[in-house]
């Protein structure tokens, strides 16, 4: 596939932005101002970046409990996103959602959800809606290796196949569901092959390589827009940190972690290297982009820090369109 320079820059920028966003979240967490728990996207940035780079603004993504990366990559306002994580009234969900429900609907995010695998049926419905309304938009649905073991996986893949819906199933196989290695709960070598049972074309890509993810997604999006139905893409990746805020991830074998977390497999390094090798960017330009993004994120963090908490009584709002 011929990928132009603009797109390579885009891929680098998205990957990096998610990285810097998550590093900032970690920093804020260190300041002890992030309530609740956190599922950081650190390490998996290339998946969200590669997928969203293949989408239009009007396309949709369905997120998970590990959703920061998805919404930022899809174009969510980082100010509102960080404010949401801090539980501020200026957050995209007015502080009602937090990390597990971080969502900016207007930017094409259907929602982040705390229930593993609950996004798949919603993606089916959104794709059905796109089809029925004739919009030609597509839905990319993210979910984890662990989610593939939930009942909605088979139900939703099947429904997308029989109705030939414009949905792209993105499995983020980071090898673990909390502390459980996928080896223990999935008998096959890949999750992708489960899609064969539903006659859904599928592939496995390096989820730390935004370009690979992008190329696979472009093909899937093309098929979906043409009415060719769903595709499943399994992205192999790895969390930089534990599952949630206090998990030291000691259950991961040292050599496995070392290999996956090595410099040359780092999502940002990988796409940066590619972009530079393909002359889309110089080292200097790449650094410039980083600086610019860093400033943007720093500003967002200030915005979040300085925002007000919601008023207690606001808890009673937004249950229904109109109170009764």
């Amino acid at each position: 596939m011929a990928v132009d320079k603009k797109k390579l820059i885009d891929l680098y920028t998205r990957t990096l932005k998610v990285r810097l966003f998550e590093e900032k979240v970690w920093e804020l967490f260190g300041e002890n101002i992030v309530p609740g728990t956190l599922h950081l996207y650190l390490g998996q940035e290339a998946v969200a970046a590669g997928v969203t780079a293949a989408l239009k603004d009007s396309d949709w993504v369905q997120s998970t409990h590990r959703g920061h990366g998805h919404v930022i990559a899809k174009g969510a306002d980082e100010k509102k996103a960080l404010a949401e994580l801090l539980g501020k009234a200026t957050g995209s969900c007015k502080g009602k959602g937090g990390s597990m429900h971080i969502t900016e609907f207007k930017k094409g995010v259907l929602g982040a959800t705390g229930v593993v695998a609950s996004g798949l049926p919603i993606a089916v419905g959104a794709a059905l809606s796109c089809k029925m309304r004739g919009t030609k938009d597509v839905v990319a649905c993210f979910f984890g290796d662990g989610a593939s073991n939930n009942g909605t996986f088979g139900e939703s893949l099947n429904m997308s196949a029989i109705w030939q819906l414009p949905v792209i199933w993105i499995v983020e196989n980071n090898l673990y569901a909390m502390g459980t290695p996928i080896k223990l709960t999935c008998p096959s070598a890949t999750i992708a092959e489960r899609a064969n049972g539903y006659c859904i074309p599928n592939t496995v890509v390096d989820g730390n390589n935004a370009l690979e993810v992008y190329e696979a997604t472009v093909e899937a999006v093309k098929r979906a827009r043409q009415g060719g139905g769903p595709t499943l893409i399994e992205c192999r990746t790895y969390r930089q940190r534990g599952h949630s805020r206090f998990d030291p991830a000691k259950y991961r074998p040292e050599d496995e972690a070392k290999e996956w977390l090595s410099e040359n497999r780092d999502a940002v390094n990988v796409i940066r290297k590619i972009a530079i090798e393909r002359s889309a960017l110089t080292e200097k330009e790449a650094d410039k982009i980083r600086e610019k993004l860093q400033k943007q994120i720093d500003k967002a963090a200030d915005f979040a820090r300085n925002s007000e908490y919601p008023k207690p009584e606001d808890a009673l709002e937004d249950v229904y369109a109109e109170a009764f």
Binding site: W60, Q62, G91, S92, C93, K94, G95, K96, G97, H101, T103, E104, F105, K106, L110, G111, T113, V115, S118, L120, P121, I122, A123, V124, G125, A126, A127, L128, S129, C130, M132, R133, V139, G151, T152, E155, S156, N158, M159, I162, E317, D318, V319, Y320, A321, F324
Partner: protein, 324 residues
Amino acid sequence: MTEMTYREALKAGLREEMQRDESVFLMGEDIGLNWGGAFKVTKGLAEEFGEERVRDTPISENTIAGAAVGAAITGMRPVAEIMFGDLITLAMDQVCNQAAKMRYMFGGQTSVPLVIRTVFGGGKNIASHHSQSLEAWFMHTPGLKVAVPAFASDVKGLIKTAIRDPDPVLFAEHKLVYDKKEEVPDEEYLIPFGEAKVRREGADVTVWGTFFMLHKALEVAEELAKEGISVEVIDPRTLVPLDKKTIIESVKKTGRLVLVTEETKTLATTAEVAAIVQEEAFDWLDAPIKRVNAPDTPVPFAPTLENFFIPDHKRIAQAIRDII
């Protein structure tokens, strides 16, 4: 006005809304060409509106409900059918965690204008997995509205309101009322949610109930009238919102309240009404509020057992006499 069955009135309401609004569509198991719904409510609609808008689905309750959510938040107005209320156990996550909570947890960013139609109740000797009355679970779920139409003239106006409502509606029907006939207005009409209907005026005791029990209560009231006992019968029509005002005003008039539903007793909807009324009309109560419900058992199969399980005229009359 035309006399028609509850089933016909319901279908007429669905038809009118589908004619009025292209975004309204139906989905569910066997609702289409080959069957027309287990209780024939949708019979003929697939022929009229096509299989895209009257959509047969696989046996995938959680994904049916979830697909309705995804379609609803992206511009459609789905009416999803769960064939029997007992089977909504499989869709509780999508109904109660997703549909009900999305507006709230995303801080008002999304509306979820969907209707879940399902059917409760016994009396058909189809035992523990096809006869339950589970409306209490949904009344206990903030974010859902719950409609409980018991009469043909109400069901049409309520389904139309449900479909136009910007929030998710659990639209509960009852097996034994589908064949009940009533005069139904010919011109279009909507019945607002949260407005109870006094089905019979009376002075000595108030009876509040739902579904088939209302039909029985009205017959009991007729009987008791002959003995000089004047019974007021109230149909809530929706449980959420609940019309407390009409109940409380009635109790302030009669001083006595009997609550009658087919649910198993403990934590049936009658418990909430009893709790409210004793709290808000304590000084007007001349006797304890009586609850008439099914016993706390699964629904049995054999007619002798099921007839014992479902509250009958005698038990309703007895409860009234007990506090008069």
